[in-house]
Subunit: 132 residues, 3 copies
Amino acid sequence: MEFQVKSTKKQEIIDITAQIKQILKESQTKKGILIIYTPHATAAIIINENYDPNICDDILEALDNLIPQGKWRHDKIDNNAAAHIKASIIGPSQTIPIKDNKLQLGTWQNCMLADFDGPKNRRVIVNIIQNK
Amino acid sequence: MEFQVKSTKKQEIIDITAQIKQILKESQTKKGILIIYTPHATAAIIINENYDPNICDDILEALDNLIPQGKWRHDKIDNNAAAHIKASIIGPSQTIPIKDNKLQLGTWQNCMLADFDGPKNRRVIVNIIQNK
Amino acid sequence: MEFQVKSTKKQEIIDITAQIKQILKESQTKKGILIIYTPHATAAIIINENYDPNICDDILEALDNLIPQGKWRHDKIDNNAAAHIKASIIGPSQTIPIKDNKLQLGTWQNCMLADFDGPKNRRVIVNIIQNK
C-alpha cells in the first residue's frame, strides 16, 4: 500500500495521519504493527505533535541550526547535503502498534513526512503486520 | 501488552529492560521481533548502555546542548518545545530481534525510556511479532 | 541470519546493502518487512545515499561537530562517550519494506553500518517478517 504527498516548500513537515488511518481501516487488521516508510534519502518520517503547528516549524528550525546548509562536501555535487544528513538522523521509517484496528498513537502524536529538499512528490509505503 | 513508568525529574532516562524481558519470557515467543513504543510526544525509547549510568546523563546533557530550552515558538503555548524536538529526533520506538525467547541485545545495550518533560507517568506498549 | 563487518578506522560508515539483499534473496520472501539490527552501543544502522561517498563523510563530520569527543562523564571510564551519544541518536536498527522479494529502497537509499568507535568487528542481525 502506497500513496504520494507533494511538498510545496524547500522544507516542510506534512501531516499524513489521515491517509495512514484510512489504510489501516481498510485493511481491517485488528492487532499488530504498522510500518511507515519513505523511499527517499532527503525525507524522513516523524511522529510528534501537529495540534500546535508551531512544533513542526520548531523542529525544522532546530535541525537547520544544527545542520547548516551549504558547507558540506556533497554540496559541490548536489546542493542538498544538509537534507541528507537530517534524513539520516531522523530516519526513513516509523513503526506504530495497532489495537482494535486503531493506531496506538498518543493524544499528541501524529504521523508526518518531513521533506528536507522540496518541493517534490514523495512516496510513502505502508506495511501492516498482523499479530495473532 | 503495556506497562507504566514514572519519571521523577524534569529529564530522566529510565531503564525498562527488566519489564521488557519479563513480557518476552511470558509470551514464550522463540523467534521474531519485539517492538517497544511510547505513545507520548515528549518522551522517546533509547537503546544504549546503562551499566555506567553516566552515559544516560551524558545523553541528556548532549541533547540539552543541541536543543536549548525556552527559545521556540511552541514555548509560548506550552513550555516544552525542546522536549518535542528531542522526542522527534530520537523517536518513540525501537525494534529488537528475538532468538531462543531472548532479546538479541548486545552486552552493552539496555532498553530505556527517555522522559524529556517529566515528572510524569509514561506508558510503554510492547508488541511481539513471531517469525516462523 | 547474521553477518559481521570489520571497520578499519575510528569512525566509518560501511555499506552493507549487498549482504542484506543476498539474505533477502535466499529467504525467497515475497512480501513483508526486513529489520536490520546491530547489537552494539557505539554503532548504528543508517539508510541514506552512498552513490556519492562524500555524504557518509559529511554525516560523520556533522555528528562530530554536534557531539565533540572527550568532554563527557563516561570519558573518564571508557574514552568513547561521544560514540555512545551518536549511537543513541541514530539508533541500532532500520526497518525496510519488501515487495516481490526486493527491498523497497529508493534510488538513492543504501543500507549502512555506522561505526563510531572502531576499528572493530561488528555484528549485523537480519530478521525478515513475512506478510500475507
